[in-house]
Amino acid sequence: MFLPFTAIALTYVLGGLILVRAWRGKQFSRFSFFFSYLIYFLGTGVIMNLVDLLDRQDYPLAFWLRFLTLVVAEFALLVEIGDHIFAPYPAIRSLGRLVTILITLAFSTVYILPSLYAQRPSSVAVLDLVMRSAITKCAVLVALLAAARLYGVRPSRTVAGLALGLALYLAISTANFALAESWGPAVYGQAFSLIGPMSQVLCLLIWMITFWKTEPLREVAQPVPAGGTGTFEPLPDRLSRMNTILSRLFKK
């Protein structure tokens, strides 16, 4: 009883600290969705605790509603992480969105949706759904970072911290939900209610370290003037020319 309570208290302390540091560092507009998510997460958490104190009958329904909303919001958080990784580079600015949309669609079709049709108790179905969506988000995150690596793009310290915190939270959630689904509440119930909040604390701790020190916006390399003329060739023209040259060289 003591440990989950400590974990919940730590969640609010860390979340509050992140918001204060971000407000002082003027980071709200830069990571607007992330902070909306965090405020929603903390605000609904407080409401949940009040529901728990006042009326325990509605608590499970409220818990799953909040949890499923957060699960969906985390996909939007991934879009924001992808946007921040590739935003400084015009040629691949939309790559994060493309990767997120494609992987989410693919996983939804072949991995998440089929599990909804399986015949089983609703509690097991919800655990399975959350676990599968966590795996999908892990896949999106890994794909985003792999794409960044492929193009030689290094995420900023803030974005790297966001990604690492989210990856830890999602990975622990995956294992936690898989164990809960397999072992059931009688065996794993107590551990489940402890590991869940602890994974949130770990994630928030990484995010707090990330936002403790504000980072200046990164400058992007300037292109070379075309043919030594001192004029810059627009990027669409450059990309188009490169495509044409490569096609022409091998068509001949």
Binding site: S94, R154, A167, L168, A221, L239, I245, L246
Partner: protein, 177 residues
């Protein structure tokens, strides 16, 4: 293997892979150099393109093999050219990566146009990358003198008979050696 153990292993792997992908060590942004390095310059100019055309031109190979009658020497030249072509494609990938990581100083579009432009630029970037991967595979497995676009002359055969096209006009023979 139990399903829960499988998912626990997946979770550990995710953390390990994310940590690996986030580790520092990429040269592109760490240097702080705001201009492109020398390797990117000249790759797309006439000198660089002439070099590429010479590497991919089968004239020397055909001259050695068919006119002088040195098939072994011609094969040795082809292997050497193949290595050169692969190196050139690798340099091309590096050069293109530098272009992708650069800003667009000529961009003056509005927010709506910018969103549309970014998808258009992404399409061109991905097209180039796919083409480059395909070209590398073709050079690696079929040699430097193979056509990148497969010859579809066989599709014209029925019409060829009707129009009585001369047999010697098949240009793909020259490249597909």
């Amino acid at each position: 293997m139990n399903l829960e153990i499988f998912y626990c292993i997946i979770a550990i792997l995710v953390i390990a892979v994310v940590a690996l992908l986030l580790r520092p060590g990429l040269a592109s942004d760490d240097s702080g150099d705001s201009t492109l390095p020398e390797t990117a310059k000249g790759m797309w100019e006439n000198q660089g393109l002439n070099l590429a055309e010479r590497i991919l031109d089968p004239a020397d190979y055909l001259w050695l093999r068919d006119q002088l009658g040195f098939p072994t020497l011609a094969e040795s030249l082809r292997r050497h050219r193949k290595q050169l072509a692969l190196q050139w494609l690798s340099a091309l990938r590096g050069s293109f990566g530098e272009v992708v990581r650069s800003a667009d100083p000529a961009s003056h579009s509005s927010a709506g146009e910018e969103a549309w432009d970014s998808w258009r630029l992404l399409r061109m970037t991905l097209r180039f990358h796919l083409l480059l991967i395909y070209a590398t595979l073709v050079v690696r497995y079929f040699g430097p003198y193979h056509r990148l676009i497969p010859s579809l002359d066989w599709m014209e055969m029925p019409w060829g008979a009707l129009t009585q096209r001369p047999i010697g006009r098949n240009t793909s023979v020259k490249r597909s050696v």
